[in-house]
């Protein structure tokens, strides 16, 4: 960055008054302080998640088994969608830092170009998250655990994203419309004729022990229980990614406002593009948080 921060000044001069001992402006310092406090909030959420996960004695969902779907495609793609989201956010961070760099050269059209790309990237990320929520909410067929501990992969007629053959370690179960189980064999090996109607519903209700799921009031397709493990898992998922997603959304709005101000030439007249830099700090922070959410929620 060069500038005042690289000048060798003695402590007497730095702290002697009449200047910032840190060689940064008031606005930038306050943005940093805000980011530190916000980082503490996010850390609190992630440590809270870690606390619950460490203290639980029940099975905990595994990221690469839960997040394995892609829009419009069948089959299993563990973590690919989240990886795409991560890539989008990192690249929008790159375009932001390029906008800041263009600002240091007073290159107005460069700032507009890169800032516009940043806004687009951020909007894509928020949209991706909407799809992920939607998918997590209504489920994908998924698995259920019966009372002897066996895990059954349930083909969900309404939403047939996954090919169950990809689900290793699961028994296969066919399901009729309405999610009625149609097991080939029951535990114990007895052949069972196709069960339909009330009998199937009874089987579904009595033979199946759900992992307590995430009942969501607007859950689509009449699924009563989400298959993705304990309730707390879903709570943390919605809260952490929701809190982060709201930050991304605010970031997009802030970047958009700054973009409009740049286009109106306000910063060019002011003589510097520090506002872009401050908005950039916030935007990079959002990316930074996602790096941690990605690791501690999806990977670990």
């Amino acid at each position: 960055m060069a500038g005042d921060a690289t000048k060798a000044l003695s402590n007497d001069v730095l702290w002697g008054g009449g200047r910032s001992p840190f060689s940064i402006s008031y606005g930038k310092m306050m943005m940093w302080f805000f980011l530190v406090s916000d980082a503490l909030t996010f850390s609190g959420l992630l440590v809270g998640y870690g606390f619950v996960r460490h203290s639980t004695t029940e099975a905990w969902p595994i990221g690469e088994e839960v997040f394995r779907a892609l829009p419009w495609l069948h089959g299993s793609f563990p973590l690919i969608y989240v990886a795409l989201m991560t890539a989008i956010l990192i690249f929008s961070s790159v375009t932001m830092v390029l906008a800041v760099e263009a600002g240091h050269r007073m290159d107005k059209s460069g700032v507009i170009k890169w800032l516009f790309a940043t806004v687009i990237g951020g909007a894509f990320f928020v949209g991706s998250q909407a799809w992920e929520w939607y998918h997590f909410n209504h489920g994908s067929g998924g698995y259920i655990t019966i009372d002897n501990g066996d895990r059954y992969w349930v083909h969900n007629d309404a939403h047939d994203t996954h090919d169950p053959a990809h689900a290793e370690g699961f028994h296969l179960v066919k399901a009729l419309p309405g999610h009625y189980l149609l097991p080939d064999t029951l535990p114990g090996g007895a052949e069972v004729a196709p069960v339909t109607g009330d009998a199937a519903q009874k089987l579904w209700k009595e033979k199946v022990v759900y992992m307590a799921g995430a009942p969501f009031p607007w859950s689509a397709h009449g699924i009563e229980f989400n298959e993705y493990g304990p309730q707390q898992y879903a709570n943390f998922f919605y809260f952490i990614t929701g809190f982060h997603g709201f930050h991304v959304f605010s970031g997009v709005v802030i970047n958009l406002i700054v973009l409009i101000m740049v286009m109106k030439g306000i910063f060019h007249r002011r003589g510097h593009y520090e506002m872009v830099e401050k908005a950039g700090l916030y935007w990079h922070f959002v990316d930074l948080v996602w790096v941690f959410v990605f690791t501690f929620f999806y990977l670990l």
């Binding site: 402006s25 870690g50 961070s93 240091h104 050269r105 593009y273 830099e277």
Partner: protein, 123 residues
């Protein structure tokens, strides 16, 4: 009224076309690094069970933590330009944060293990 008591540090941050080239080069280098690290993480997450024994999970877990910290360091130091700021502001931002977070982590992990022990023993 124009104020003359404010030093505009941002004016000092301006740089020339040649210097900008160097800055951009560094940005793309860091981008490449972040992309590679993320690819490694995702590939490891998706396929580690087919490549390694289940007992390798602990090593993989710590690999993730280290890779994440590497990514975070590059984002903060290069993209957020904290590496280019004065040492005193770097310390003021990073040290208090590190202090709080290490304490929070310690409490979180320590207490969660005790709670797990309670669940297992008395439930």
């Amino acid at each position: 009224m124009e104020r003359d008591d404010i030093i505009e540090y941002s004016l000092d941050a301006h740089h020339s076309e040649e210097h900008g080239k160097k800055v951009r080069q560094r940005i793309w280098l860091v981008t490449l690094l972040l992309a590679v690290v993320t690819t490694v993480e995702v590939t490891l997450g998706a396929y580690w069970k087919t490549w390694f024994d289940l007992s390798a999970w602990n090593t993989i877990k710590w690999t993730y933590v280290v890779l994440t910290l590497v990514k975070a360091a590059y984002i903060v130091m290069t993209f957020m330009h904290l590496g280019d700021e004065r040492r005193n502001i770097r310390a003021i931002i990073l040290l208090p944060y590190a202090l709080f977070i290490l304490y929070l982590l310690f409490i979180g992990i320590w207490e969660s293990q005790y709670v797990k022990y309670l669940w297992e023993t008395y439930l």
